[in-house]
Subunit: 439 residues, 2 copies
């Protein structure tokens, strides 16, 4: 676990003045990574760091030789079209680069002249998926989500007996992961209509989002060599926002006995920016469990996991329908919750994933699962908020939603704030539903 | 669907005389692909084609300019360290290369002089995983396996109602796929011992293999653009042997509600050689279903799928324990079955996978699921052969096996033979269980 250091000092200010604005997601205490290029261009993607409303181009900074030593090697690795090489360097290199960036972007830094030439306004940029994702695993770490959704799929047995012992996870689809701005046609497939004895074929009628965080692996492990829980966080590069789009009617018919498949793998959207674990240090909280719940088995247990295993990332979901866009109305908030409510920590996900010998690689992505909070208005999916579509939401413009309709844009946002620390944010993760293809 | 052509002529003979030996897996009618290098060397892997007991080095043949036109481009693509570029070229290029290889390797071919210099004996080679596998999906296409294993996991409900409508599949782990010769430590994890109310942690006690075929995707599809069943086979590069190692005790405790995870992702072993769909043309058979079973929904239905959707690949599983190796005893056969018994075809797997818009990419791997045949002695896993370990097998040397023990090597073999066609084979897929790490 990283400790607070000079890069977290809330008094730091940047010579990129937009970074000092209150409520801004990307102050100098954040320094998240993405891959970007000029919007609409055929330029190569390259790594960048968000600072205020600008992107620091790591390829340009590396070419200019701004950073030396370990930070310089890290900047060079981060200059590529995907961040895998930077992720593979490990925690010492990430820390060195963060410190060098923090010092060079501070007010009065000697590097201002060189680095000012390496900035691009975020509004002129487009982003790519930040890593070659070798494997994508989705977990199921909210006991509130598991209970809410379990009640609908298995009314008599909502929370399965393994939930409080195992960080339940399953493999997802890497090829269909897209970056914020992704659009996708409403999926088509088999469903079993209520009361029917044979399935129907057609477009999904119960399309949903899932509010999650994504965890990008850094250094990984060799096959057969698990990552101990005390080492797990050092292997993690950082977190992003993740929308695990879900076709509930397809899921209900297909998911037994081998789990969700076509109900999930048509699209997954992530935010472009990866906020490093080090940037999240000020927002760590004790990890707690109800007193009556089982204690984690020893391989999932560690003092540091109790002391500060949770992370208070505040999360919200907003919806903007086509009608709202047409009328110039802003997206409306559906949910506000926090990652602090998760039942299993980042370290527990990583350690459990590798305990059998499975190898994680730099750039692999873990999803936390839907991060529903303790109360129903903190739920991270429509299936929970609308009780399976039976209690539709009424939006400010009078439209109602049981599930998503064509043209709906779902916006995820995340940020951390507390007294005595700078507010940092994740930016946005936006995805839009297009009409199904004709079948 | 490809048609019989001159490359399938059983009368063809090669100037590589070992290819003409009876019972040999790699006659000139086969021509499967792998990536290889000299054993124990640091040479780059490159594509090769099996012919008798030799490998034709595609990098050397391409450098020598033996092939021209489309076949030459395909040989160049196949010269790389992974076969993804060749796979991405599509069926026309694969057919052109196969025809050129067949003609150049025939007795009397003018290319003999040039190509003889491009051969390496297979016994001097080592192999790599033949493609960068972006995503790995495992299906569940044997109704016999689904029923046998379902009876043990859900005695009152062995075959779920979706099985005869949906080619059930789930995402597996790409990073832990290894090539024949793979060894792995017995996995460690959580299990719920019989009668216990809380899980235990330790090494797997019910380690199993699963006899499968792997399907390597060729040209793939864009996100949102499904592959119609009439186009599905043209998108497939070829088939290999696949062992989906399974920890049954870990699986039983973890698999609900999201499917198998750590019980499968510690290792998956494939054969080095990929036999192209075109090579399998002579062994196609009608696809049949019991008269009372539902007909496939229209998107999974096509005349060609009925006419020759099945493939008569004969398959066997052999076991060699450590004691057998120590005493110089050959592996003993546990199972002999055929892929012809599968309930869903290759084309149906591909089309179902993409019907929701999911994108498949060149080099993606689909597993067929355990290919158990209609009778219990044709079962493709120990959990079926030993009825959950309760009826252990007695081996020729007197040892017994309920599940796999440390040191056990599992050998998969596959081949096709029939009157009027050449016998072709898949070679072997071998994997060996090492002791668990200390916990």
């Amino acid at each position: 676990m990283t400790l607070l250091n000079e890069t977290h000092d809330p008094a730091l200010r940047s010579w990129v003045t937009s970074a000092n604005a209150a409520g801004n997601d990307f102050p100098i205490q954040n320094l998240p990574f993405a891959v970007f290029r000029r919007k609409g261009s055929l330029e190569a993607f390259r790594g960048g760091v968000a600072i205020g409303d600008q992107i620091l181009d790591l390829a340009a900074a590396a070419a200019a030789g701004v950073f030396g030593g370990e930070a310089g090697s890290a900047a060079q690795a981060g200059a590529q079209d995907k961040l895998n090489a930077l992720m593979a360097l490990g925690a010492s290199a990430w820390t060195a680069l963060r410190l060098a960036l923090s010092r060079a972007l501070r007010e009065g830094a000697a590097e201002q002249g060189q680095l000012a030439a390496c900035l691009m306004p975020q509004q002129e940029a487009e982003y790519g998926v930040p890593a070659r994702i070798g494997d994508y695993t989705d977990f199921y770490t909210s006991v509130y989500h598991a209970t809410n959704i379990g009640r609908q799929f298995r009314p008599d047995n909502p929370l399965l007996p393994n939930f409080k012992w195992i960080p339940i996870g399953y493999h997802g689809r890497a090829s269909s992961i897209g970056v914020s701005g992704q659009t996708f046609p409403r999926p088509v497939g088999q469903t079993l209509p209520p009361g029917a004895s044979e399935p129907s074929f057609g477009s999904c009628k119960r399309l949903d989002y899932e509010l999650e965080l994504g965890v990008f692996m850094g250094s990984g492990n060799a096959l057969g060599a698990p990552i101990a829980i005390t080492e797990a966080e050092a292997s993690v590069f950082g977190l992003c926002l993740l929308n695990d789009w879900s076709a509930r009617d397809i899921q209900a018919w297909e998911y037994q006995p081998l789990g969700p498949f076509l109900s999930k793998n048509f699209a997954t959207t992530i935010s472009p920016w990866i906020v490093t674990l080090e940037a999240l240090t000020p927002y760590r909280l004790p990890f707690t469990r109800p007193a009556d719940d089982p204690q984690p088995l020893p391989y999932l247990d560690a003092p540091a996991n109790w002391a500060q295993g949770a992370i208070d990332v505040q999360l919200e979901v907003l919806l903007q329908t086509q009608a709202m866009r047409d009328q110039g109305q802003a997206a409306t908030r559906l949910t506000h919750t926090s990652y602090r409510h998760a039942y299993w920590t980042v370290a527990q996900m990583v350690t459990h994933h590798t305990v059998n010998g499975c190898n994680l690689q730099p750039g692999d992505l873990l999803g936390t699962g839907t991060l529903s909070g303790p109360t129903l208005d903190q739920a991270g999916a429509l299936i929970e908020l609308t009780v399976g579509g039976k209690q539709p939401l009424t939006l400010p413009n009078g439209q109602t939603r049981g599930y998503l309709e064509d043209g709906d844009a779902v916006v995820l946002r995340g940020w951390c704030e507390k007294t005595g620390a700078a507010r940092i944010g994740f930016g946005e993760c936006v995805g839009t539903v297009l009409p199904a293809r004709q079948v």
